[in-house]
């Protein structure tokens, strides 16, 4: 469905990504794990057109997205929940959701989807008139996810959704990811929490200093000795 081939990203003289290939199939959760600075976020940002691609290609159902603007990529249904949530703190919860649906014009569908998001996250409904900046970290993450769902995404990309959340909330977030998957969403998940990510993922890629070093079904990687040692904190 979404194919990334030979992707290179450079910041000044630094090669953040050195030719990676990722393929995401419909209704699957694909995860990208790796240490800090491995290039996980750069991959997502390059797909969204937020950073320039030095080389490589991004295709969506055969359509070339490589040189499209971010806003046009969003219109294709490829949506990213940015790292650190990044809700619009000066806007209310409801306004954040309305902006999520910025590219859409079907008022009825927007209303339906908003109700869906409120059903999924009742806390957001209770607080829909509050400024997003007054929400707790977990609530902001729910809002960021809800806001992305308002696009009716074809591919949902999440950048470190569990970052900076209390362990209990991390569990909630992964529950949400599972639920979204069950509803038929296609998800590309970037995580530092490798164990949790591998547990939910159908397929996983391991990124090290800008290169893919390992890939395979999530459960296989959970058993992989190298992965265990480097990312799951289990000594041999």
């Amino acid at each position: 469905m979404l194919e990334v081939s030979n992707l290179h990203v450079r910041y000044g003289g630094i090669n953040a990504l050195r030719g990676i290939n990722i393929s995401i199939e419909e209704n699957k959760i694909v995860t990208l794990i790796g240490a800090n600075g491995a290039g996980k976020s750069s991959t997502l940002r390059a797909i969204m057109g937020l950073v320039d691609k030095a080389e490589g290609k991004v295709e969506y159902n055969g359509e070339d997205l490589t040189n499209l603007h971010t806003k046009d990529i969003v219109k294709k249904g490829i949506v990213m929940v940015p790292e650190g949530r990044r809700v619009f703190e000066n806007l209310t919860v409801e306004e954040n959701l309305i902006l999520g649906a910025y590219t859409r014009t079907d008022q009825k569908g927007i209303k339906e989807d908003m109700d869906k998001v409120y059903d999924m996250f009742p806390r957001l409904k209770e607080r829909n008139w509050q400024k997003a900046g007054t929400l707790s970290g977990g609530e902001q993450q729910m809002l960021a996810v809800g806001r992305a769902l308002m696009v009716r995404p074809k591919v949902l990309m999440m950048d470190e959704p569990s970052l900076g959340l209390a362990p209990l909330l991390v569990k909630d977030i992964f529950e949400i990811i599972r639920m979204l998957h069950q509803q038929g969403n296609t998800i590309l998940l970037v995580e530092q929490n490798a164990k949790k990510a591998l547990e939910v993922a159908d397929y996983a890629y391991v990124l090290e200093t800008g290169e893919l070093v390992l890939e395979g079904p999530g459960e296989d990687l959970l058993e992989d000795e190298k992965v265990k040692e480097a990312y799951l904190g289990e000594a041999r």
Binding site: L50, T70, P82, F88, N90, T103
Partner: protein
């Protein structure tokens, strides 16, 4: 000084304050989104007045339609200004775009001198606006009432636009976070163009009404109001629209009442704004309604 006299000054102060408020909004909106002080804003105000002048002189369109068309036309000039002078520099250091703004300001002033001529022109004030009405012993020009009324209508319209429409929401989102806004599919360039259009349109309305109140046009007429309205925006807390309006009224009222109560200080009329600016910067640098600005990373 009698009460009646005071009321007259109050009315004058309110109408001057309305004009300042209209112009200050343009500064504050552009700053809110681009973190840029648009130094050419005062000159856009001047263009609005001149375009109206030529519109009334050389066309047979009714004056009130000319007022509206000229303001809209000036709005598009503001939009063009952003495209030519600011957009190519958006990725450059902020100081570069600031210098470009100063350059644009000088350009428009000198363009005015060359094209409109350096000699002052008399603004053709429609007769109906020239009327003076007497209210219980106070005689006030009709414009003194028209100006605040128009201002209030525009402010209500703007508030509705900013708070209720999707474009207004996008504008507020953009003022906080470009990147995330673009992740919503928001066309950033379009929103910035709309911001410049609205700011310039309001400045032009200010320029037209300024012409009806002080009917003398000069190519440099935008310099002092421009500076003062920038101060008004800072007093209110730059980036905050309500703040800009409050700042405009404080400045307009303060200026008029200062002259009224202390006629000896009339010569210091313009200094008043700057003294106020210094005080605000010392006491509350973020302005009355301003929030702490965290630098964008």
């Amino acid at each position: 000084m009698g009460n009646l006299n005071f009321l007259q000054h109050l009315a004058n102060g309110i109408s001057l304050g309305s004009l300042y408020a209209l112009i200050a909004i343009g500064y504050t909106m552009v700053y809110g989104i681009l973190r840029l002080i648009n130094f050419a804003h005062g000159d856009i105000f001047m263009l609005g007045a001149y375009i109206t002048y030529y519109g009334i002189l050389f066309t047979s369109i009714p004056w009130w339609l000319v007022f509206i068309f000229a303001s809209i036309f000036t709005g598009f000039i503001g939009l063009l200004l952003e495209k030519i002078a600011y957009r190519p520099l958006r990725e450059s250091p902020r100081i570069t775009i600031l210098i470009s703004a100063i350059g644009a300001s000088f350009f428009l002033q000198n363009f005015g001198i060359v094209v409109f001529g350096g000699r002052p022109k008399a603004f053709p004030v429609p007769n109906i606006l020239n009327k003076v009405i007497r209210l219980g012993g106070v005689s006030v020009g009709i414009v003194t009432f028209v100006i605040p009324t128009v201002t209030i209508i525009l402010l209500l319209g703007l508030t509705y636009f900013i708070t209720k429409t999707k474009t207004g929401m996008a504008m507020r989102a953009l003022s906080k976070d470009y990147e995330t806004a673009s992740l919503m599919g928001i066309d950033i360039n379009r929103i910035i163009s709309i911001t410049f259009f609205i700011g310039s349109f309001l400045a032009a309305v200010g320029g037209v009404m300024w012409g009806t109140k002080y009917p003398q046009l000069m190519p440099l007429m935008g310099v002092m109001p421009g500076l003062k309205c920038f101060i008004a925006a800072v007093i209110g807390g730059i980036g905050n629209i309500t703040g800009a309006v409050i700042g405009g009224f404080i400045l307009g009222l303060g200026e008029i009442l200062l002259i009224a109560f202390l006629p000896n200080l009339t010569g210091y009329r313009d200094a008043f704004a700057f003294v106020l600016l210094i005080i605000i910067l010392l006491v509350k640098p973020t302005g009355l309604m301003g929030e702490k600005i965290t630098e964008k990373v």
